[in-house]
């Protein structure tokens, strides 16, 4: 048994309930193979940094998985076949973190950039550059 973090991005047109169903589906696959699913985070509809297949937004879901590699391979195969999934990433990790991930707290890259406190002087310039882009 190994620890995995699985993130997938679903199409913007499907409903939240459908996304939850998908997650449940994958959970069942893993459980059938003798694995476990820890926390599942539904990060909601987030703006993508760039359009993927004409989608500007996507449902982000993060799953913490404890399973055998075969189970993960099966889930990845299913995700590859699914038309509703734009992107998926499964990463092997040393340990699983049960705290809410930064995905839950932060909005999108652009929003962060605009009101980020880290880049100090660039901020003013950034904002002026930002406004025409968002229109």
């Amino acid at each position: 048994m190994r620890f995995y973090e699985c993130v997938f991005v679903a199409r913007q047109d499907i409903t939240g309930a459908q996304v939850e169903n998908m997650a449940k589906n994958y959970t069942n696959i893993i459980k059938n193979e003798g694995g476990q699913v820890g926390k599942i985070e539904f990060c909601g509809l987030r703006t993508l940094a760039y359009p993927i297949k004409k989608n500007k937004k996507g449902h982000y879901v993060l799953m913490n998985v404890t399973a055998k590699p075969e189970a993960v391979a099966e889930v990845e195969r299913q995700m590859k076949l699914s038309e509703d999934i734009l992107r998926y990433v499964t990463v092997k990790v040393e340990s699983l973190d049960d705290n809410p991930s930064p995905l839950m707290q932060q909005r999108s890259f652009r929003d962060e950039k605009a009101r980020s406190s880290y880049d100090d002087q660039d901020d003013v310039v950034e904002n002026t550059n930002e406004s025409p882009r968002s229109e």
């Binding site: 993130v7 991005v9 993508l48 940094a49 760039y50 993927i52 996507g58 982000y60 993060l62 734009l86 992107r87 990433v89 990463v91 991930s101 930064p102 995905l103 932060q106 999108s108 890259f109 962060e112 950039k113 980020s116 880290y118 880049d119 660039d122 950034e126 882009r133």
Partner: protein
């Protein structure tokens, strides 16, 4: 005459010292190593965006003073974030 020359040599020494001080910069330490290190996570867009240029390129470690080992980790995390459309590949 001898007084003047001594003065100038003293001055020179002072100037040299000033120049030295000006060009000496304290080496900043890696933000990901040490006791209060941050954890590199591909989902933490706010953290990663600090190590990316305005254009969206990964900053060289000689500027951000990230250690070589952590820079490799950081680059991997940024690339993962890009793939998941959490961060842009290019920002115009």
């Amino acid at each position: 005459m001898s007084d003047e020359t001594r003065m100038s040599s003293e001055n020179q020494a002072r100037v040299a010292q000033l120049v030295k001080r000006q060009f000496f910069k304290r080496r900043k330490s890696c933000p990901f190593s040490g006791p209060k290190a941050m954890k590199i996570d591909y989902k933490d867009v706010r953290l990663l965006s600090r190590f990316v240029s305005e254009r969206g390129k990964i900053m060289p470690s000689r500027i951000s003073s990230v250690s070589l080992k952590k820079q490799r980790e950081l680059a991997q995390a940024i690339k993962r974030a890009r793939f998941l459309a959490l961060m842009p590949y290019v920002q115009k």
